[in-house]
């Protein structure tokens, strides 16, 4: 789960790391009121879960109320596309914070290194720009050190910031900031914390001017405050899926997909794409074979107006295909799909399952024996994506 900039900064502040004070607003009037309160110059920053906001025009400095109004009006409702083509992300909130007098711009992060199974601290004196580009151009400019699992103290942090050649008079404070970032990682179950830039102000204070934080979704049971943030999902289908306890990810295409198991579901998307189709979603039905689970899944898929055909790809292991077939038959009585449904049932009791479906003789239901044939069939039935 990714946090918005201001949510990340609130988390930093909770752990004693200096951040500029500010307010969040979701209307132009509220944004102007916040700017008036904070004073000028102030930064008006789009709150979306993607980098590259500055380039996209999502961050502006207002010198007076007129500018605050102009910028808030332009930024709220803006669509921002990420550097790797992610999104677009609609801006529903802006964060207004006091302007900072920047003397130095650094980069600091603490991330989970999956390969080495340790937390990794990274620091660079070249902050405020794309850190991947900095690392590619000048690898020595980005200092990387694993954090000792048994502890991370100011001395260890100071060695890192000193190696990164930060300003001598800022080393102690920067080290302290790094220790706090590691503390946020451990205590808040963050798997990624990135501060770019971490600035030194004209008054030589170290302040986190931006934040990018990813919280481990599996840890939310022990973070009540973060769990509440997780409940606010934008996308209507993703919201609906979450309420129904389904693992769903929305994509752009017109072929609705339901499969059992995360790996098989990902593989189903790939096979549909290879057959020339465009998957509309990822939906892992898990071990859910009951009619209720199938109805829920079909309702979520169907609520995406782009979907014109659905593929149901099941490999029964513990889950029995005859139970799933009965679930499909019951579900089809409760929900009017109004579009073709291609079903592929294989694995445990697949013969019985196929027989149940054949006998039910459901309209608009197409059976295929293999995953590849099922993918081709659903792509054909879905027609070209709008």
């Amino acid at each position: 789960m990714d946090l918005l900039e201001y949510q990340g900064k609130q988390l930093f502040a909770k752990h004693g790391l200096a951040v500029p004070s500010g307010e969040v607003a979701d209307t132009v009037d509220d944004a102007v009121a916040a700017a008036e309160k904070i004073g000028y110059p102030c930064a008006i920053k789009a709150q979306v879960l993607i980098g590259g906001r500055g380039k996209a025009g999502g961050i502006k400095i207002a010198q007076n109320a007129e500018e605050a109004r102009e910028y808030a009006d332009a930024i709220l409702g803006m669509d921002i596309v990420g550097p790797h083509g992610e999104g677009p992300f609609r801006v529903d909130q802006v964060w207004i914070e006091g302007g900072s007098e920047i003397a130095e711009e650094y980069y600091a992060s603490v991330i989970l290194d999956r390969g080495e199974k340790k937390l990794l601290a990274m620091v660079s004196a070249k902050g405020g720009m794309d850190i991947e580009a900095v690392a590619a151009e000048d690898p020595d400019a980005l200092v990387k050190r694993h954090i000792d699992p048994s502890g991370f103290d100011a001395a260890a942090a100071r060695a890192i910031v000193a190696d990164a050649s930060l300003a001598e008079d800022a080393l102690d404070e920067a080290a302290e900031a790094l220790v706090k970032l590691a503390e946020v990682a451990r205590e808040e179950d963050a798997t990624l914390i990135e501060v770019n830039p971490l600035i030194v102000t004209a008054g030589r204070e170290v302040v986190a001017l931006d934040s990018k934080v990813t919280i481990d979704g599996n840890s939310l049971f022990r973070h009540q405050d973060l769990a509440e943030i997780a409940d606010t999902v934008d996308d209507p289908q993703e919201q609906m899926a979450e309420e129904k306890g389904l693992t769903y990810v929305k994509l752009d295409g017109n072929v609705g997909i339901l499969a059992n198991g995360a790996g098989l579901c990902m593989s189903t998307l790939d096979v549909v794409a290879q057959a020339g189709g465009a998957p509309a979603n990822f939906l892992d039905a898990g071990g859910g074979s009951k009619a209720e689970a199938i109805v829920n899944a079909l309702e979520v898929i169907k609520s995406d107006a782009k979907v014109s055909a659905i593929l149901f790809n099941i490999f029964g292991g513990i889950t029995r295909c005859d139970e799933i077939a009965n679930g499909i038959v019951t579900a089809s009585k409760q929900i009017d799909l109004g579009m073709p449904l291609v079903v592929r049932l294989d694995g445990t009791n697949s013969e019985e399952g196929l027989k149940i479906l054949a006998e039910a003789n459901l309209p608009n239901l197409h059976q295929e024996k293999t995953m590849l044939d099922a993918a081709r069939r659903v792509v054909e039935l879905a027609g070209s994506a709008a």
Binding site: H84, N218, A262, G263, M266, V271
Partner: protein
């Protein structure tokens, strides 16, 4: 031979008194696995269909001779249960539980390493050595004994491939589900090492997916250390960046962890990568015939 579980496996199941734990633990026993104990704190002295239950894993080791622990404990209590298993004296811990906080696993991972205990999972379907033992939730009916070792991040995808291998008339030395979490006890490399040393394994099928760099690391290892042929499959070519695709570990971060990068890394080291589960099984069966 086979790897990790076999006729010598003496299994203790943490969570045997729970619904999932008893269902799968007893299924494993019915398959022929030597289920020697269940473990549930506070329920020591009871039994589950004749299998004695102990309060601690250590008692299951000393009293019932357990050498393998399977963890079926709910996510928020699972990491301490794995830690307990690591310290109990068993050789192998297989953690099925999904949803364990990753930072809990970070410390548990190092505890297992330091203790020299083999940890499989979490968030995995377990390990099956066809005809010998099954520890976990893998449906054994799709797998016959044979010369192909399978190592996979995914459950159902593995059953799909296993079923196609069976239809092609071949079978498996072992099937190891390493799990779909960002931090797992054993990576592809750990299992590839075991298959390389296992005389009954002639060919290895490796099933990966988006996220992390375990497949890229495995590609380097295969080129340097594995003499047996390896066939791979990678899921998630159509996954968008920044979205978690079911498994906690299946996420593309920025531009890293993509399926294409993994495929390229494997092919650069001469590993054939199937386009679909069906093609992967077909390549494996064909390569086996030409060995």
């Amino acid at each position: 031979m086979s790897i990790i579980v076999d006729e010598g496996t003496k299994l203790a199941v943490s969570g045997l008194t729970g619904r999932e734990g008893s269902f799968h633990g007893l299924r494993n026993k019915a398959y022929g696995t030597d289920l020697v104990a269940g473990v549930t704190p506070g329920k020591g002295g009871q039994d589950v269909e004749g299998t004695p239950v102990f309060d601690t894993i250590k008692e299951a080791v000393t009293e019932a001779g357990a050498n393998t622990s399977m963890i079926f404990v709910p996510a928020r209590f699972a990491a301490p249960a794995i830690d307990e298993a690591i310290e109990s004296g068993v050789e192998t811990v297989i953690a099925i539980t999904e949803g364990i906080p990753v930072l809990d696993m970070l410390s548990t991972y190092w505890k297992a390493k330091e203790a020299g205990v083999r940890l499989i999972g979490p968030n995995c379907p377990g390990v099956l050595s066809p005809g010998k033992a099954n520890v976990g939730i893998i449906p054994a009916q799709f797998f016959d004994p044979g010369p192909i070792g399978v190592v996979s991040k995914s459950g159902t995808l593995t059953y799909q491939i296993g079923n196609e291998l069976k239809q092609a008339g071949t079978g498996n030395s072992s099937i190891v589900g390493i799990g779909g979490d960002p931090i797992v006890g054993s990576d592809f490399i750990d299992i590839l090492k075991l298959y390389e040393a296992d005389p009954d394994t002639e060919l290895i099928v490796m099933v990966g997916e988006i996220g992390g760099d375990a497949e890229e690391r495995a590609a380097e290892f295969i080129a340097a250390e594995v003499s047996k042929p390896v066939v791979a499959y990678i899921a998630g070519f159509t996954a968008p960046p920044g979205k978690q695709m079911g498994h906690a570990g299946a996420i593309i971060s920025g531009s890293s962890g993509t399926a294409q990068a993994k495929k390229d890394a494997l092919e650069a080291k001469g590993v054939r990568v199937g386009e679909s589960p069906t093609e992967t099984a077909a390549i494996a069966a064909e390569m086996l015939r030409s060995l």
